[in-house]
């Protein structure tokens, strides 16, 4: 496990970026549409005001100051040409007197355009035209809703995809580190075992041989016994640290040997059943061996058992490893110590799973399923 949670860190930063992006997506297009269409609407209003102002000019030139009384005909003319539909028209004299016109009622949300009528350089009238912005606002709102959906979709993709990638990367890094740690642990164990075997073991053996060449003396017999015990302890330690039999004899024979030696050492009757095994990777063999080793140790320590069983079966492309006993362990004694955690961790690193349970009688049962062809990144060297 990496102490620094990369996924969580990345998720926090991506959330802010995603929210900002979603807001920009949602706001930008409807706003651009609204501004462009509003400008277009304003140009239309102003264009119509200019057109009306031009028509008004010819009326004013004919009417000699009474033009404002003839505007109903002008507006009827505009209406008959369909130019007043949906438009509110206001005409004012130069001194801002209202001129009677007939036009559609003032819309709730008007957008005004205006134009002046000049006669001989003087402003005589001003024409105001109001267009309804209601439809534009409604369309913009609908566009806003549509883009809200789009922004949610894009935001979700923008957030989920990188976070998923980082999360996956973190899991792979964690697994790699765990495999590396395990490999280093195995390597250390092998080194220590080798040093004990080749260094202290050889020295003690040499001393034992030297004593045998000396004249008989009661003290020498005691000394020889002590040396034999020490050599035996060293051999057991070497076997525990790095099972020499695993690389020399294979998993099946190594398990049988370990069960026998464990039985001899602890007095626990261990029955070992192993199917005929296909060629297995060094990681898988080591994992199986260590799981059996740890499970039996656990049984011996906590289960108050007289008998234990080790079964290793091959089922399609999986290994099914089971270790159980006839013990009477209390449920509270099944604490997840380093050993049981190690079993689960080894199974997980090989894409397998481990189940550790106590049945109603207090019998400890360890069941591990391991794929035969697991993907591992860090190899464990065979001796």
């Amino acid at each position: 496990m990496i102490p620094f949670d990369l996924t969580r860190w990345f998720r926090r930063r991506m959330l802010l970026l995603t929210v900002l992006t979603a807001i920009v997506i949602q706001v930008s297009a409807p706003t651009a549409y609204y501004l462009a269409k509003r400008h277009e609407l304003w140009l239309e209003a102003r264009s119509f005001a200019t057109q009306t102002a031009g028509l008004l000019r010819s009326e004013i030139e004919q009417q000699n100051g009474l033009w404002q009384y003839n505007t109903p005909k002008l507006t009827e003319r505009l209406a008959s040409e369909g130019l007043l539909s949906g438009r509110h028209l206001v005409i004012r004299t130069a001194d801002n007197q209202a001129v009677s016109v007939f036009a559609d009622p003032l819309p709730i949300r008007p957008l005004w355009g205006r134009a002046d009528t000049h006669v001989q350089g003087d402003r005589v009238a001003r024409v105001y035209v109001a267009l309804d912005m209601g439809p534009l606002l409604r369309t913009t709102l609908w566009l806003g809703f549509s883009f809200a959906g789009l922004s949610l979709l894009v935001g979700a993709l923008l957030y989920v995809l990188p976070v998923f990638a980082v999360s996956t990367a973190q899991r792979r890094i964690e697994r790699l580190l765990a495999e590396l740690a395990l490999a280093m642990q195995e390597e250390d164990r092998r080194r220590i075992a080798r040093e004990l075997h080749d260094g202290v073991g050889q020295a003690l053996t040499a001393a034992r041989l030297k004593i045998m060449t000396l004249e008989a003396h009661p003290a020498l017999a005691d000394l020889s016994k002590l040396l034999d015990d020490a050599l035996m302890d060293i051999r057991r330690s070497v076997e525990r640290l790095s099972p020499l039999s695993l690389s020399d004899l294979g998993l099946s024979e190594a398990l049988h040997r370990h069960c026998e030696s464990f039985s001899a050492a602890t007095g626990l009757s261990v029955f070992c059943e192993v199917d005929e095994l296909p060629p297995l990777s060094a990681q898988l063999e080591t994992a199986c061996y260590r799981i059996v080793q740890e499970s039996l140790t656990n049984t011996a320590k906590h289960a108050h058992a007289k008998r234990a069983w080790v079964q290793l079966r091959v089922e399609e492309d999986h290994l099914l490893l089971a270790v159980y006993d006839d013990g009477r362990a209390n449920t509270p004694t099944l604490v997840w110590g380093q050993g049981l955690r190690g079993i689960s961790e080894r199974a997980r690193l090989l894409d397998g799973n481990a189940s550790i349970s106590l049945d109603k009688n207090g019998s400890l049962r360890v069941e591990v399923t391991l794929p035969i062809h697991a993907n591992t990144t860090v190899p464990i060297q065979k001796r």
Partner: protein, 285 residues
Amino acid sequence: MRIYILLYALCFFGCAGDLPPPPVALSKPFVERQGTLRLAGTGAMVPLAKRLSTWWGETGGQPQIVVEEGMGSGGGIRAAYDGAIDLGMVSRAWTDDEARLGLGRVVVGQDVVGFAAHPLVPLAGFSSRELPALFEGERRMLPDGNWLVPLLRDRAESAHAALDGVAPGLRNAREEAYRQKRWRVLYSDSAMAQALASTPGSVGVFSMSFLVAEQLPLKMMRIDGISPTVETILAGGVAPTRELCFVFRKDRRARVEPFLRFITDANIQKRFASIGYVPRSEPAP
């Protein structure tokens, strides 16, 4: 969410657009212009008013009469009410709103209305049953090979009311023609006169009094064999007519009274027929 609302508020309030019209300024008090009597209103009365002005001048009447171009009966009523003119010329009945303005009204005569046509149209007239079909879009070829081209006056034209009584169905046909934009619409008598004179095969609603008074080169069409002329009316015949009257603010009665008395005088009324108008039938007020 707040940013969203803020951005939309900025867009809503901060965009291009002209300012709305300011509140209307207070009306200027009417300044009575001494020295002239200003007349304006329906175009149908413009030739009559000009002739009356001439006759008024010949008798040394004061003040001088100024006749403005036609701006419709409604314009004449509104301008008279505002005090912009002294006498409004009206060729139709009041609307309810206009009746509430409280203006004085003096009927001065009638004009005869009917259909005028391009001078070369080879037809003498129409039956009243034919008239609606004219505006319903029926394509009719004239004996000279030209198509008959109906021309429309605007909806506010007062001659329509007089003609609708002659030809049932004409009103609906005309309204349909407006909606369908089937024919060209003219907005004044002078514009109609110009259009009729310049468009071969054209026919349209027109004031016969205007035609006679202005001596326009147009052809008067009979309706059911009757010529819509002053002579027909004076001979006791029936032709579509409309009443012509002057309207004025009652507080100006004293100012316009001499002129009104002049035009309702029996001697002046007798001269109406010579310029194409029918004299008033009621006695002088």
